[in-house]
């Protein structure tokens, strides 16, 4: 077996397992946990376009999840527009806002950019909490929006069982992974990587760094907002403090950093590492000693950063390389 064949086989096996999983798991709880895992992996992949490839550290990305959720839900509740269309609308709104906010801030150094995004996210949350009606749109202030139960309906993006949600987010995740894979291998990816590393040098090689960063921001915000609609339809309820708060923003960044910033697999590996940890420590420890699960979460975060500052993807891919070398036929293909 050559290396390429091995990679492909593994990818196929992975995909088969992912697509077959709901047949094996009949517990909606575990399915929900996996759905949220995919949801986080998706968000982190979208984040990665800016936070990984373009080399800045956005710490307020939940805002764009919120914009997606609000846009599609308002359109659905007030104008009866299918959330599928609202999803795209939300993506466009988020991309536009991302560009407006990114234009002045993307020039900044990392710490400043991080603080800016936090302030923007918090500012927007506070504003939405103050606004009942935004022009003709009912945002309902701090109470948030509830999507009424419509039963199983593909057009209304609502299902009584978990499987459809599972497949929707799985496909979204696959698409976003393919997209980031494609970007990372294209001119845009190279230009983003160069601009994030040494902007001056990149500019001298013909890269309009600011524009490429804005492009990354627009793509990232667009994709992030799509997940916002998904979230709204999955939960059928959201409110500003929960959706736009810093917890979600921070978790996205953590997953990326623990998985490996700027790598394709990083978001998935990060989500695989953190989400179950997050869920199971909460499930099994929170009734024993409130807070203990978050202490453990924090400690793991510190330990990973101490021993694998580039994230878990780096050591895992080293292990994989070694294994692959042992398995594949030598000389089959130059690796």
């Amino acid at each position: 077996m050559t290396r390429k064949q091995l990679d492909r086989t593994l990818l196929c096996v992975g995909a088969a397992v992912a697509f077959g999983l709901p047949q094996l798991i009949d517990s909606p709880t575990y399915l929900q946990i996996i759905i949220l895992l995919f949801f986080y992996a998706y968000l982190t992949s979208a984040w990665n376009l800016v936070g990984g490839f373009a080399g800045v550290l956005p710490m307020g990305h939940a805002v764009f999840v919120g914009i997606g959720a609000y846009t599609s839900t308002v359109l659905f509740l007030q104008y009866n527009i299918s959330p599928w269309i609202g999803m795209l609308a939300g993506g466009v709104v988020a991309a536009a806002i991302g560009v407006i906010i990114g234009k002045p801030t993307l020039k900044m150094r990392g710490a400043y950019f991080a603080l800016c995004t936090i302030a923007f996210a918090e500012g927007l949350r506070v504003m939405i909490e103050n606004i009942d009606m935004l022009g003709p749109f009912k945002l309902n202030g701090p109470r948030g929006l509830l999507i009424p139960l419509k039963g199983d309906s593909l057009a209304a993006f609502q299902f009584m069982h978990k499987e459809p949600y599972y497949y929707i987010i799985l496909i979204m995740l696959c698409l976003v992974l393919a997209f980031t894979w494609f970007i990372s291998r294209s001119k845009i990816g190279y230009y983003l990587g160069a601009g994030g590393e040494e902007p001056e040098a990149a500019e001298s090689l013909g890269v309009n760094v600011a524009n490429y960063k804005l492009l990354a921001m627009a793509m990232s915000c667009f994709l992030t907002a799509l997940a916002g609609t998904f979230y709204a339809q999955l939960m059928l309820y959201f409110y500003p403090k929960g959706l736009l708060g810093l917890d979600l923003s921070f978790e996205i960044a953590f997953i990326a950093l623990i998985g490996g910033r700027g790598t394709i697999a990083g978001p998935v590996i990060g989500a695989l590492a953190l989400r179950p940890l997050n869920e199971f420590t909460r499930i099994y420890l929170s009734d024993q000693l409130p807070g203990l699960h978050l202490v453990i979460f924090g400690l793991i975060l510190i330990l990973v950063m101490l021993f694998q500052p580039k994230g878990l993807t780096a050591p895992l891919s080293r292990i994989y390389e070694r294994l692959a070398q042992a398995i594949t036929t030598p000389g089959g293909e130059k690796s």
Binding site: S27, P28, T29, Y30, Q32, I33, L36, V126, E129, N130, G141, P142, R143, G144, L146, L149, M160, Y231, M235, L236, Y237, F238, Y239, K241, G242, D247, E279, R282, I283, Y284, S286, D287, Q288, P290, G291, H293, L294
Partner: protein, 414 residues
């Protein structure tokens, strides 16, 4: 309780079939349990209330189990299975699904935050698992035509209605007339919900609204709000506050010597067991609307409170009493259903008419659900903070029938 569940988990973890068989044979005789899923904020901003609710439920479950469990189920014991919502609806929904599907709880209760309870009850409804909501006051929780959702406490429109009834009654009784009113409320789900209804009721009562002020409940300084209150100089101030901001607001008002004729709070932070300890005499004279008060004239109220205080170091509060009552309501329904089948439990809950027993330490006569699952009887009392025998106390003043014997309210407050 906790030990039992850990042991059980351990046995599963080891996969010791023999042990399971052994336990099962015991279980048949006496160890049958009914699992109650309980989603509460055990960490995060509302953890303090969540933990109080947990303690109250534990006390009720201990009492029920000590008294022989659910007799119609062969003395089955109640077992509480907790999940932490962190006050986050996403987590609340996920945890509700987990408790129902994985922990196989027979009945659900929680979640304190309206924002969490709202979607979590929707989950329970979808799976057809009864959900007893002790407190989460948002009206709409029991206004969606759900079959499996029951609420013990009053909903917020009732709270607001009673606040204005109280104001009217007291003005008549003490022959005063007020003209202006101010609303100060936390800018969350709860506060904004109250304020919306205040506006209409104030208009109906012919009161002029001189200040309508939401504030962020995580504010580090409420002096600006109190300064505004001082400028507006209202006769009546209505408040909705969480724990920390209630303390801050009361202290700041004392500091800036703002003294409206009536200050009426809406429970929550003002009813927190630690509130009086933290504000001292600054709270003297203020009124507070609560589900429950320690001086309520009911059998078991004093005993239960003493027991709770001995254990946890503070008094029972409205929220914890509701949690306590809810546990007794659940036990009562199980007893009558003589089954853990969710449909039967649901029907038994719907037919609840609980008027006696240790759980009924509430101010009202009994728990009786309407067709939406709202407790029709849920009542509210209004207390005044007063100095009794040199100690600050919360004295029930309204409804007049429930007023503590021998106490004359100070109205307007001085």
């Amino acid at each position: 309780m906790k030990k039992a569940s850990t042991l059980k988990r351990l046995s599963i973890g080891l996969g010791a079939a023999a042990l399971t068989v052994c336990l099962a044979s015991f279980a048949f005789a006496a160890e049958k349990t009914v699992k109650i899923g309980n989603v509460e904020p055990l960490s995060g901003p509302s953890a303090s209330v969540g933990i109080q609710g947990k303690q109250a439920r534990e006390m009720a479950v201990e009492e029920i189990n000590a008294a022989g469990g659910i007799k119609s189920l062969g003395g089955a014991k109640l077992e509480l299975v907790y999940a932490d919502s962190k006050s986050d609806p996403t987590v609340g929904v996920t945890e509700t699904e987990r408790l129902i599907n994985t922990e196989k709880v027979h009945i659900m209760t929680g979640c304190w935050n309206s924002a969490v309870t709202y979607p979590a009850t929707q989950v329970a409804e979808r799976y057809g698992v009864p959900f007893v909501v002790p407190v989460a006051v948002r009206d709409t929780i029991t206004e969606r035509g759900f079959k499996y959702v029951f609420r013990i406490a009053a909903k917020d429109s009732w709270w607001v209605r009673d606040q204005f009834r109280f104001l009217k009654d007291m003005q008549e009784e003490f022959k005063t007339g007020f003209k202006t009113i101010a609303f100060i409320f936390e800018n969350g789900d709860w506060g904004t919900g109250f304020a919306e209804k205040w506006r209409t009721l104030a208009k109906e009562a012919g009161l002029q609204i001189v200040l309508d002020e939401p504030y962020p409940s995580t504010a580090s300084d409420l002096t600006p709000v109190v300064t505004k209150m001082k400028t507006a100089n209202p006769d009546i101030v209505l408040l909705v506050s969480n724990a920390a901001d209630a303390i801050l607001l009361t202290n700041t008002m004392a500091e800036l010597k703002v003294k409206p004729k009536v200050v009426l709070a809406s429970g929550g932070g003002h009813a927190d067991p630690k509130f009086l300890e933290n504000v001292g005499k600054s709270a003297l004279g203020m009124f507070d609307e609560v589900e429950w008060n320690t001086d309520v004239n009911k059998p078991n109220a004093k005993e239960a409170n003493a027991k709770f205080k001995a254990k946890n170091g503070y008094d029972l509060a409205g929220e914890s009493v509701d949690a306590y009552v809810a546990t007794y309501v659940i036990a009562d329904a199980l007893e009558r259903a003589a089954s853990t089948d969710p449909k039967k439990v649901r029907d038994a809950l719907a037919a609840t008419n609980l008027t006696t027993g240790p759980g009924m330490l509430v101010s009202y006569d009994g728990v009786l659900f309407d067709e939406n699952g709202q407790n029709k009887n849920a009542g509210i009392v209004i207390v005044q903070v007063a100095e009794m025998n040199g100690k600050l106390d919360r004295v029930t003043v309204w409804p007049k029938a429930a007023r503590r014997a021998g106490y004359t309210p100070v109205f307007p407050m001085k």
